[in-house]
């Protein structure tokens, strides 16, 4: 696939948000990748290891949550999970809808803002960061 390009996008987006939050060094990035998505976790990790040296991501850990394919049947409500993509409900045979497995998003990142921990306002910092990061 195009994992190098995806990781470059992740780094660009995280860098932008990190800068806006005064974060000088990123220590961890967490992605959520559905198994129905074409992006391959090993290739994403490889891309991250290639692109991170001499950036704010140097030494950072990339964590990837791999989300299994989940289907829900609108007729009988049954949920099923599987690697193989039969889009029919195993309970009633109706057509099931994909409810998980196609994700491709940045969940969160962790970093260091280079400031001394004053022992307060940690939660507040998180909240304001979340708000600033939440916009388009």
């Amino acid at each position: 696939m195009h994992e190098i390009g995806l990781i470059q996008t992740v780094m660009d987006e995280v860098s932008r948000v990190a800068e806006a939050n005064g974060i000088e060094r990123v220590t961890k990035v967490r992605l959520v990748v559905g198994r129905m998505n074409g992006a391959i976790p090993d290739a994403l990790e490889f891309a991250f290891s290639v692109l991170s040296p001499e950036t704010i991501f140097e030494g950072a850990r990339l964590e990837i949550e791999s989300v299994p394919v989940r289907l829900r049947c609108p007729h009988c409500g049954a949920e099923s999970e599987g690697e193989k993509l039969a889009y029919f409900c195993p309970e009633c045979g109706g057509r099931a809808e994909l409810v998980a497995g196609q994700e491709l998003y940045i969940d969160y990142f962790e970093g260091d803002d280079g400031k001394e921990d004053a022992g307060e306002g940690r939660d507040g910092a998180e909240d304001s960061a979340r708000e600033r990061a939440g916009g388009p």
């Binding site: 696939m1 195009h2 390009g5 995806l6 996008t9 992740v10 987006e13 995280v14 948000v17 990190a18 939050n21 974060i23 220590t27 992605l31 129905m36 998505n37 074409g38 993509l85 039969a86 889009y87 029919f88 057509r95 994909l98 196609q102 491709l104 998003y105 940045i106 969940d107 969160y108 990142f109 962790e110 970093g111 260091d112 803002d113 400031k115 001394e116 921990d117 004053a118 940690r122 910092a125 998180e126 960061a129 979340r130 990061a133 939440g134 388009p136």
Partner: protein, 221 residues
């Protein structure tokens, strides 16, 4: 001090934004994003389609190719408006590339636009370009295991063209089984069986294209 920042942001968000802009620009022009592996016959199908609809529909083509202009030259040879997009190694077209190509077309003069994606069944399925319909093209010569191996492109497509039907006697391609597998992935999908080489099945394919042109005119005026 350590800080955690929640983003919950789609990696392809920027592409989706540009795809929405493309869709806005294409609101009066029915657009088909044609996806297949290399050599399945996308360009030949387009050549034959342009021939069949000549004098009836003005067709434009955004021609994706990794390096060359060979396909665009073939399309231009049929008299269609064509814009070449070279991805320089990238495995798919993205919305930005298509947006830049649209700048070079007189959209108001066209009745139907094709986007011929880069030959690849994996990555193009992930990228919205602003099209109305994705169409997956599969050729008999590639073997019948493609729907099972590349389910996403079939899930995302409105129609499938099974091309090179003239080669059926020379392969172990099981037409019924493949169609059944495609319908397992997407029961309501349209399936066209064609041979761009002999012209078999092109009439039904062209009838669908006329139908989507009529439909969009009806919906958007």
């Amino acid at each position: 001090m350590p800080v955690k920042v929640v983003m919950a942001q789609k990696i392809l968000r920027a592409n989706e934004q540009v795809a929405r802009e493309n869709r806005e620009r294409l609101q009066h022009l029915p657009t088909v994003n044609l996806i297949s592996s290399p050599g399945a016959g996308k360009t030949t199908l387009l050549e034959k389609t342009i021939q069949a609809l000549r004098g009836e529909l003005a067709i434009g083509v955004v021609e994706g190719d990794i390096y060359t202009t060979r396909d665009a030259e073939r399309i231009a040879g049929q008299g269609a408006a064509v814009v070449q997009v070279n991805t320089a190694g990238l495995c798919h077209l993205d919305a930005n590339m298509v947006g830049r190509a649209l700048d070079q077309l007189d959209l108001d003069s066209l009745d139907l636009l094709f986007i011929e994606n880069v030959g690849n069944l994996v990555c193009p399925a992930e990228f919205d370009l602003g099209e109305d319909y994705k169409v997956a093209l599969l050729s008999v010569a590639e073997g019948g295991d493609k729907p099972e191996k590349y389910p996403l492109v079939f899930r995302e497509s409105h129609a499938v063209v099974i091309n090179k039907s003239d080669l059926l006697p020379y392969t172990d391609f099981d037409m019924n089984k493949v169609q059944e597998e495609i319908r397992t992935l997407k029961p309501e999908i349209l399936i066209f069986v064609t041979s761009a080489a002999t012209g078999e099945g092109l009439e039904a394919w062209c009838a669908w294209l006329r139908e989507i042109v009529r439909h969009k005119r009806f919906v958007t005026g």
